[in-house]
């Protein structure tokens, strides 16, 4: 409800200066920077004396380039990564990595191997276990993947870890978060701010993702979650793991009481694990009957101290 009001307010802000915004959008679509237009409207610049050297400012990227990339749907891998990096960095401001280098390294090895089975093997994939008892996992655009210590502790073998990471990799390769940002309301929100006061890309990204890392506490749509489950199973199977490890994890999490605060966020932002299991059952049917039995690798699963 709060969000709806925020969007409504943003729309009102847009309509209040509709003329500016219309021109702004037209310029964006024409590939022209709004700043250039302002220059053409201004009197021709006089040759000015060489300005005194300024102290070096932090590097700023103009925001309109990224906004145009979002609108056209042609975002570069690097632009996608910069959005993901901002979300990941903010998230790590709320919860730190588990201080165990061997664990982090192990999860990166498993995750990278699973990601190599996807159609985006060359993204700069990064995986991290964060220090919270919450039971959850998160993805951020460009290849930043997190799972919580609480979820890791419930896993019984490497295949289950692969299945969970495969689900998150699914969100990244299918660009689920980017697609949400491409919804016109968000772009209008970004544009209204851009037209008034926002000059650099960093600010645009922050406005697109909301406050801090709150994007991590919002759900994607249910269909995206079901799709990521299917991708997770397929990637784990392609990597040589037990394809059924992900539904086994879902079955386990489904047994945690919904009164337990450790699953509050997970249950708020995802369909119930039972429904996800059922959806996988529907999608798989007899399609995986001839799949060779995958490995679970329980013996080398890294045990948390």
């Amino acid at each position: 409800m709060k969000v709806r009001i925020a969007v409504l307010l943003a729309c009102m802000a847009v309509s209040a200066q509709a003329g500016d915004i219309d021109r702004f959008f037209k310029d964006l679509l024409k590939g022209k920077r709004p700043a250039e237009q302002q220059q053409t409207m201004a009197p021709p610049p006089q040759p000015a004396p060489q300005p005194a050297p300024q102290p070096a400012a932090p590097p700023e990227r103009p925001a309109d380039q990224l906004l145009r990339a979002l609108m056209s749907g042609n975002m570069s891998v690097e632009e996608e990564r910069r959005i993901g990096e901002k979300i990941a960095g903010n998230f790590l401001g709320a919860v730190k990595l588990v201080p165990d280098a061997n664990l982090q390294r192990y999860v990166n090895l498993v995750g990278r191997w699973v990601a190599l089975q996807s159609d985006r093997p060359d993204l700069a994939w990064h995986f991290g276990v964060v220090d919270t008892d919450d039971i959850n996992a998160f993805a951020s655009p460009g290849g930043y993947i997190f799972l919580t210590k609480g979820l890791y502790r419930r896993l019984g073998n490497e295949a289950e870890l692969a299945g969970v990471l495969g689900h998150e990799i699914g969100h990244v390769i299918r660009k689920h978060h980017i697609k949400v940002m491409q919804q016109s309301q968000f772009i209008a929100l970004g544009a209204s701010l851009l037209g008034r006061k926002m000059k650099d890309e960093n600010q645009l990204i922050q406005n697109l993702i909301g406050n801090g890392a709150e994007i991590m506490s919002r759900g994607l749509d249910k269909e995206s979650e079901f799709e990521a489950d299917r991708v997770g199973m397929v990637l784990a199977a392609r990597a040589g793991y037990d394809a059924f490890s992900l539904p086994k994890v879902l079955e386990d999490i489904g047994h945690v009481s919904d009164q337990d605060s450790r699953v509050a966020l997970l249950f708020k932002t995802h369909p119930h694990p039972r429904d996800r299991f059922d959806r996988l059952a529907e999608a798989v049917g007899d399609r995986l009957d001839n799949l060779p039995e995958g490995k679970t690798l329980g013996q080398r699963f890294y045990v948390l101290r």
Binding site: R4, V7, E85, K86, G89, N90, L92, G93, A94, K96, L97, Q104, N108, L109, V110, R112, W113, L116, Q117, W125, H126, G128, T132, D133, N136, Y144, Q185, G210, N211, G212, A213, S217, R218, G219, D221, K222, E223, V234, A237, R238, A239, G240, F244, P247, H255, S257, D258, Q259, D260, S261, A264, T269, R274, D278, A283, D286, R287, D289, E293, L297
Partner: protein, 177 residues
Amino acid sequence: MTCKQWFAALLVGWLAAPAWAAGGLMLRDDSLRAAASAASAVVGKAAKGSEVEILASKGGWTQIRAAGRTGWVRLLSVRSTAGDAGKEDLDSVVALTRKRESGKVVAVAGLRGLNEEELRSAQFNAGELRRMEEYGVSAAEARKFAADGGLAGVAVNDLPAPKRDAPKSNGYPWGGY
């Protein structure tokens, strides 16, 4: 029978009973097979909606007992219902140590969870992000790690979405408006 013998008999009985046998619910009709393979002989049927006993699992197969017959069905055809009610689950005991407050579950005990307010007010942590990036591994390292575990790539097709009418709207804020 002496007391000791009684005790021994009870112990044997307790050990023999499949304490791990859990309840299960059939999600779809499936054949009961003699072994964990689609090529194995069909020994019976288990109907959608029937309650069964789960005995074991192997790869993509689950061994069940349904209406007195034992056999294997596809793992995704049956879902464990153990603990669905949350009873006698350690998790629900933990949950009892928390209290609900205006719709939000608030942890009052020692466990630390993620809370939405913390996420909302989070500030960019460049040092921690750098640490995460340093743990990254190359494709070559990952391939070697896989080979060390005896993992090899398998050709598997994408799974298409099951055919059903996708809902136009949903209850989640990111897709809901």
